[in-house]
């Protein structure tokens, strides 16, 4: 039988995978994709809790409204972030995170 625990563990593993990608990869576009994966893993947790925490016999739609807002913010974030990456590529000719060290002093 599939329980709440199953969904939470899938979401946790997906989040950890994204986190590992953010730490280990050097290509800034792939780091961005891993960030998206982490956001989606958090959404899965919210939807799972919304389904298992019934309010008057219906799923908790407050949580799903939060997921809706998260997805919208993530879409806006991707657009702005990719524009920054394009600007970065124009000045550095590279998408390697280690090419960007100007703030390191």
């Amino acid at each position: 039988m599939i329980t709440l625990n199953h969904y939470l563990i899938v979401s946790g593993i997906l989040f950890a995978l994204g986190f590992a990608g953010v730490i280990a990869r050097r290509n800034i576009i792939i780091i961005y994709m891993c960030l998206e994966m982490m956001l989606s893993a958090a959404n899965l947790t919210l939807v799972a809790f919304s389904r298992f925490n019934l309010v008057d016999g219906l799923p908790d739609y407050t949580a799903q409204a939060l997921v809706f807002f998260t997805i919208t913010v993530a879409a806006a974030e991707v657009a702005v972030g990719l524009a920054i990456i394009v600007a970065l590529f124009r000045s550095k000719q590279s998408v390697d995170v280690e090419a960007v060290t100007k703030l390191q002093g």
Binding site: V10, L17, F19, N27, R51, V73, A76
Partner: protein, 195 residues
């Protein structure tokens, strides 16, 4: 949802998620991410969140992925063959990720209601419909669907967003506008910058 389907979609989501992290070619990563999101959308739908599952596919697997592929092709990124990540970063990532997963799994297993299955917390549609009709706070179209034993997911979502969160929805609209303007400003070539 049958357990087999849950495991199938969870494996789809996690397997392609792993490919995003491991693949050396950015295009492979982007397409794996799209497949991973499709698996995740199926999990959303298995949790009776039809609307969220649909916008997950439309927004992530559709719009965001096209944007990623567009940028990858625009920048013409070659496979990062010459430079590999440092060993320390890889070992650290594996260590942190495994510790985090074990921690999350342990905490989640000890939650008081984590053993609940979908059948244990079955939706009570007719009762919810009767209650909504009695309190008079709902719309006729929603109570009609509930009385017929269907979950009007999108209608309930719309009711929540446009009544309880109407202000927040407008703030999100403003955020998207600011994002659009920001992208245009960022991608404009600066020509007249004095040296």
């Amino acid at each position: 949802m049958p357990p087999l389907l849950f495991y199938l979609f969870a494996a789809l989501s996690l397997g392609f998620g792993l490919m995003v992290v491991l693949s050396r070619n950015p295009v492979t990563s982007a397409l794996s991410l799209a497949m991973s999101f499709v698996g995740l959308a199926a999990l959303f739908i298995s949790l009776d969140a039809y609307f969220i599952g649909t916008i997950q596919i439309l927004v992530y697997a559709g719009a965001v992925m096209v944007l990623f592929l567009f940028i990858i092709m625009l920048l013409d990124i070659k496979e990062e063959a010459e430079k590999r990540s440092s060993l320390g970063a890889i070992v650290g990532a594996i260590l942190v990720a495994s510790v985090l997963s074990v921690q999350i799994a342990t905490v989640c297993s000890s939650l008081s209601h984590s053993k609940q299955s979908v059948a244990d917390s079955a939706l009570k549609l007719q009762e919810a419909g009767a209650e909504m009709t009695a309190s008079g706070k709902s719309l006729a179209t929603i109570t009609k669907d509930l009385a017929a034993g269907e979950l009007p997911d999108t209608k309930l979502m719309g009711l929540t967003l446009f009544s309880q969160y109407a202000f927040h929805l407008q703030v999100i609209g403003l955020l998207l506008l600011v994002g659009t303007v920001g992208v245009v400003v960022l991608s404009k070539r600066e020509k007249e910058v004095a040296p």
